[in-house]
Structures are given as structure tokens and as C-alpha cells.
């Protein structure tokens, strides 16, 4: 062994290695996408604050790509009443502490007219105050979430618990005949509040919740949970465990013979991204409920997917519902509709008032309309079951409910 004298310099060397590692993949200073043409009144400045790096990066990048895609479409068609949209991106880095500073940049330096973004509820909670209260700017939140967000000037364009549960749970109970539910969940706000709502719907429909349990997000071992499912004769698992704890849970559930014995696994955030998360046999029969699946038979949605694939060929960030991408599409389009309604005025009061009544004739999975005074949108909801075609998984849409009420606020 060579003797090495590691003093202050060596220590600093180690410390800079740490910094260098943290630097990997960060976009410092944000990003601007300018339109190719100008308007006398100047561009409409749209801020996107989403998770380009960190744990939520797959969804965040999908959001950013969808925003670019739909803004390009709008600008190509002549902008909003002749005014082009200029896009400003700030990385929220899957970390609320980093996010707050970056979001402030959007508001104070870039002076954007609207901010869209945030994926986790923790992120929404962290950035809504700098945007809505201190920043006096309109905020659009695109992800499916636990509900109860009724802040003025904050519009939610993803599905609420009612939209995800009101049709799905009666389907599980009445159509599939499942009565005994287990609710294994990750221990944070979305599962807690979603379960509270889902439990009410289960009990109202004559079902029974055998147990509702919360785990650390990265739990690796679920033997005890599986034994409780077997011992309680559970026939429907309403899952809100999320990655990275998700995959070992689903595997152990499958190994216990749950599905083989007629059990149904249901999970309301499963979209096309999740199809590759488990081996096909473990996914088979899974029931999900979202505002859009790529299998939905709707010509407008199909055109959207084709356009997206053309702009981002071979991308790993899909245009799906579970990752807030559909909510992002709706958010941008709602904003467009609102600005059209104000006759091009960009003041927060005017746009918010118009946004409150905005209607989209089309979108991924169909149109949507804001429910006046409720900050949430009615939209179509679909129930899909996962099929296994010889090792390849896909969703089959088996139920569509039109214009489901969000029942919020």
C-alpha cells in the first residue's frame, strides 16, 4: 500500500467530485423557445416548471415535450389571435427546495403570463404560493391528484379522485363481483386522500375494506402484506404503492397466486409507461382508470399521437395520461381558449374569469370543460384492462364515461 497523505487539498478534491456528480444533467439557467415570427403586442410568455431531472424526470420530460408540441401547433396555426407563444422552461428537479427558486425566476425575470407544471403534490404545494400569491400569476396544475386544491387562480386539468373512482369501483364490485378490498399504499398524501374517497365509494356500493396500510416509499419486502391479503380472503387489491416499492409488491402478489385464484389488481395511475414495469404475466388483468389510453378509439387523439411521434421520433417520454402529459395538453389549450375569449387580454383577472368557463371540443381522450367556480374540469374517463399477447402487454378499453364531474371545491 502506498502511503498517501490526504490533507486539505485531497479533501477539497473529494468535495469537488461530489459537486461534479450533482451537476450531471442539470440545466442551469432555464431554456427559452422563441416563436419563428413576431407580433406588435409581443409574444405571450408561457412558463413551464417541471421535473426535467431527478426521480420524476420521466414524467417531467414528457410534460415538457407535450408543451413544446402543442405550442408549436398553436403557433403554426397563427398563435392566439395573432400573438405567438414563447415558452420558458425551468427545471423543478423533483425537489421542492430547488423548485421555488427556479419558479421565482420565471415570475420575476421572465415575467411569464402563466405557469404550467408541477407533478407531485409536494411540488404543487411548494410552488403554488410563489406563483399564485406572491407572484400574482395564473397557475395550471396538470397531474391526476388527491383533490381538495381550491386555490383561486390555480386550475387543475388532471382527473380528481371522484373521476377515477366513481365509475371504476362500481365496475369492480358490480360487474366483476369483487367485494373484499385491500388498500396497500405508499405513505404520502396522494394515497391517503385517494383512499379516503375510494373507501367511501367501496362501502356505498356494498364492498368491504379488509385493510388499508401505508408503507415507506422504497419498501422492498411485502411478505406480511401478502399474508394479510391471503388470510383476509381479499379479492380486489386497490393499489397505490408507487415505484420503487411497487415492483416487488406486484411480483410477490403474483407469486402468491392472487390473480390465479380470481383476484383483481386495480391501480389508477397505470398508463402506457407502466406496461414495461412488470413482466407481462404479472400485468395481465390489471384494471386502470384514466382520462386517456392510447387504445382509445378517437380520431382526434390518434392524430395527436401521430403528430407527437413525428416531432419526437423514438422518444422514451410518452404522451400518456398517468404522467400528466394529457393534463399539460389540456392546460395549454384551456389557456388558449381563455385568451381567445378575453380578446387577447393577458391580465390575470380577465384570463382566470374566461378560463373558468373554458371548453375544449377535442383533446386526448376527447374534449373537456372547466366546471365554473370549481377550478377543475369535466372530462371523459376510461376503464382499461391489461391484456397479455404472448409476452407483450397492452390496454384494452372496456368502458367509457362521458364528461365525468370532478366533484371538487
Amino acid at each position: 500500500m502506498r502511503d498517501t497523505n490526504l490533507g486539505r487539498r485531497g479533501f477539497l478534491g473529494g468535495a469537488s467530485a461530489l459537486t461534479a456528480a450533482g451537476w450531471v444533467g442539470t440545466i442551469a439557467g432555464g431554456l427559452v423557445l422563441r416563436p419563428t415570427w413576431a407580433h406588435a403586442a409581443g409574444p405571450i410568455k408561457m412558463g413551464i416548471a417541471t421535473d426535467i431531472t431527478g426521480a420524476i424526470a420521466p414524467s417531467g420530460n414528457a410534460n415538457w415535450q407535450v408543451a413544446q408540441f402543442v405550442v408549436e401547433e398553436i403557433n403554426k396555426a397563427g398563435g392566439i389571435l395573432g400573438q405567438p407563444i414563447e415558452l420558458y422552461l425551468e427545471d423543478t428537479a423533483s425537489d421542492p427546495k430547488v423548485a421555488v427558486g427556479n419558479v421565482r425566476k420565471l415570475i420575476q425575470d421572465r415575467k411569464v403570463d402563466v405557469v404550467l407544471g408541477g407533478i407531485t403534490s409536494a411540488m404543487r404545494q411548494a410552488i403554488k404560493d410563489p406563483i399564485v400569491n406572491r407572484g400574482r400569476t395564473l397557475y395550471i396544475y396538470p397531474q391526476l391528484y388527491e383533490g381538495q386544491e381550491c386555490t383561486k387562480y390555480l386550475f387543475n386539468t388532471g382527473p380528481s379522485p371522484a373521476q377515477q373512482c366513481d365509475r371504476l369501483i362500481p365496475y369492480l364490485i358490480k360487474t366483476l363481483g369483487k367485494k373484499k378490498f385491500a388498500m396497500p399504499s405508499a405513505n404520502y398524501v396522494w394515497p391517503q386522500l385517494l383512499n379516503k374517497y375510494a373507501r367511501k365509494v367501496i362501502e356505498a356500493n356494498g364492498g368491504e375494506v379488509v385493510f388499508e396500510e401505508y408503507y415507506p416509499l422504497d419498501q422492498a419486502e411485502y411478505s406480511a402484506t401478502i399474508r394479510k391479503i391471503t388470510a383476509g380472503k381479499v379479492d380486489c387489491v386497490f393499489n397505490t404503492v408507487i415505484p420503487p416499492g411497487l415492483q416487488p409488491f406486484v411480483k410477490q402478489l403474483y407469486e402468491s397466486g392472487f390473480q390465479k385464484n380470481g383476484g383483481v389488481l386495480s391501480c389508477v395511475y397505470y398508463d402506457e409507461n407502466l406496461l414495461n414495469y412488470h413482466p407481462a404475466q404479472e400485468m395481465e388483468g390489471l384494471v386502470s382508470c384514466l382520462d386517456y389510453f392510447q387504445a382509445v378509439d378517437d380520431p382526434f387523439s390518434k392524430t395527436l399521437q401521430e403528430g407527437y411521434a413525428k416531432k419526437f421520433p423514438g422518444t422514451k417520454y410518452l404522451f400518456t395520461a398517468g404522467s400528466a402529459a394529457t393534463g399539460m395538453y389540456r392546460g395549454v389549450k384551456f389557456y388558449e381558449a381563455a385568451v381567445k375569449a378575453t380578446g387577447g387580454k393577458l391580465g390575470r383577472e380577465e384570463v382566470a374569469a374566461a378560463m373558468d368557463k373554458a371548453v375544449l371540443p377535442n383533446g386526448p381522450g376527447g374534449g373537456a370543460e372547466m366546471v365554473p367556480g370549481r377550478y377543475h374540469a369535466k372530462m371523459n374517463m376510461y376503464i382499461a384492462v391489461c391484456k397479455n399477447d404472448g409476452g407483450k402487454t397492452r390496454y384494452e378499453v372496456i368502458d367509457k364515461t362521458s364528461m365525468v364531474d370532478p366533484r371538487e371545491c
Binding site: 485531497g10 473529494g14 461530489l18 420524476i56 420521466p58 396500510e213 401505508y214 415507506p216 391471503t230 410477490q252
Partner: protein, 285 residues
């Protein structure tokens, strides 16, 4: 009865996973006095090797077999370039290995695009004994763990190389005076520990998803296992890992799952307080 047997099987399977992960960490901590914070990322690299072999159409087996060698070589390179500079300063070594781990982890995260990847089991399905079904891959992991424990013990406690390694740890000056190249031995030991981590990663990745954080989630529990079992012995970390793994899997049956994790730590810390030397006192390899 059926119920109990399945539960015990699951607990034993998870305990084997813990032991596999802890083994390499324990070897490096015990033989070299280095707490390797990059251990989780060596596990990750083992898992990533399997993913690559599967993604390039070779199937999972070549990856599982190659993983210990690939990661062992990476470990060797790491030791020669970075780790050997830290032997005199164990605290700095922790920071240094942490930095190395962070770099590896973020590079892999970039390569995966932050996504999770499912890796199929090399032997899938289950076999039945008396109407009870047991997963082939979990059984394979249990058997492999036992073989690896036996093999490592023979190598370190019963072979000439093992004797030299222990000698080099006990008194490096004297060992060098006897003509033993301690530098080379340290490099080999580190590579061996890394290879064990690579094997662990390759074996466990079909049970979990491949993600950049696959190693880190076990790391804290792995360190706890080493403390609990006792640094400086071979059997200590194995026993410690068994205790921690068994408790982590079994406790959620009796207490709220969110409380199980902290409870494992509390129990382990109480034990460490009462037996600071761990289950097995140092120096009895």
C-alpha cells in the same frame, strides 16, 4: 400451517437477499477497514450488467454470470485509482466512496433516462411441494447465498490467501517485512468485495426493478447489519444481515408497516449499545 410455511419461505428469501448484499460490504469493512459507501452502486452495476445482456438479446443468464467478473474488474480499477489513496483516512474514505457512488448512480440514471426497467427472472415460474408453490428464482437465490457464504468463508478463513489478507490487515508492516505485497492483497480483497456486490445485484434485480436507486435502498440497512454483527469478523455481518432481513420482513405482520422500519433500527441500536462489539467479537475469524 401452509400459511406459516409460505411466510417463512418469503422471510428466508428476503434474508438471503440481505445477506448477499451485506457480504461484500462486510468483507471490505472487516478486511480493509473501509466503509464503502459506493457498495450500493456496485450492486447497481451488477444489476445493470444483467439489463445490458438482456437488452442486447443475449438473455439474462450471460449477464448474471458475467456480473461478478465485470463488477470485480471495476472494483479493481476503482481500488487502484481512488480507494488506495484513502487507507490512511477512513473518514475521508467514506466521503470519497460516497462521491464515487454518486457519480456511478447518476451516470446510470442518465443512461436509463430515469425510467424503471423490468428484468425477467432467468428461471421463472414456481414449483409445488405438497400443494404449496415456491418461486424458482427465490429458491435459487437462497441456495446461491448459502454457497457463496460457504465459498467466501473457505477462501478467507481457510485458504493461504485468506491468511495473508488477515495478516495484512492485522499488521501491514510485519506482513510487508515477510514479503507479502499488501497493496496487491488490498486490491484483490476490494475486487472480491465488489464482485460479491455485482453478484448480489445480478441476482436480486429480477425481484425488483432496475433503477438507479436499487442499491441505495439497501445500503443503510446493510451498514446496520455490519454494525450489528460486528466489524472484523466474517460471520458477524452474515448474522447481522439475517437479523435485520428477518426483522424487516417479519415485523410488518405484527406492527404497522410504517413503524416496522424504524423499529428494526431501534432494536438493532439497542443491541449494538449492549454489545458494542457486535454479535461476534472482533478478531475471531
Amino acid at each position: 400451517m401452509d400459511f406459516a410455511i409460505k411466510f417463512v419461505f418469503d422471510i428466508v428469501a428476503f434474508t438471503s437477499v440481505m445477506v448477499l448484499i451485506v457480504l461484500g460490504l462486510g468483507v471490505i469493512a472487516s478486511m480493509m477497514g473501509i466503509f464503502n459507501f459506493a457498495h450500493g452502486e456496485l450492486v447497481l452495476l451488477g444489476a445493470y450488467t444483467v439489463y445490458l445482456s438482456d437488452a442486447y438479446g443475449l438473455g439474462t443468464w450471460p449477464g448474471v454470470i458475467a456480473a461478478p467478473f465485470v463488477v470485480g474488474l471495476i472494483g479493481l480499477a476503482l481500488e487502484r485509482t481512488v480507494i488506495r489513496r484513502f487507507y490512511k483516512a477512513p473518514i475521508i474514505a467514506m466521503l470519497g466512496t460516497y462521491a464515487v457512488g454518486l457519480i456511478i448512480r447518476e451516470i446510470v440514471r442518465g443512461l436509463l433516462g430515469g425510467h424503471y426497467k423490468s428484468i425477467p427472472e432467468p428461471i421463472s415460474g414456481a414449483f409445488a411441494i405438497g400443494g404449496l408453490e415456491f418461486s424458482w428464482w427465490r429458491s435459487f437465490i437462497i441456495v446461491t447465498t448459502l454457497l457463496v457464504i460457504a465459498g467466501s468463508w473457505l477462501l478467507l478463513a481457510r485458504s493461504l490467501i485468506g491468511l495473508r489478507v488477515r495478516g495484512a490487515l492485522e499488521n501491514p508492516m510485519l506482513a510487508r517485512a515477510c514479503g507479502i505485497s499488501t497493496g496487491r492483497l488490498y486490491a484483490l480483497t476490494f475486487a472480491f468485495g465488489a464482485a460479491l456486490a455485482g453478484l448480489a445485484g445480478a441476482l436480486i434485480v429480477p425481484l425488483y426493478q432496475l433503477s438507479a436507486d436499487i442499491g441505495i435502498r439497501f445500503l443503510v440497512q446493510a451498514f446496520l447489519s455490519v454494525m450489528l454483527g460486528g466489524v472484523g469478523t466474517f460471520g458477524g455481518p452474515v448474522l447481522g444481515a439475517s437479523a435485520v432481513g428477518g426483522m424487516a420482513a417479519g415485523l410488518p405482520w405484527v406492527v404497522l408497516p410504517v413503524l416496522a422500519d424504524p423499529l428494526v433500527f431501534i432494536i438493532a441500536l439497542v443491541v449494538v449499545r449492549m454489545r458494542p462489539q457486535g454479535f461476534i467479537g472482533a478478531g475471531r475469524l
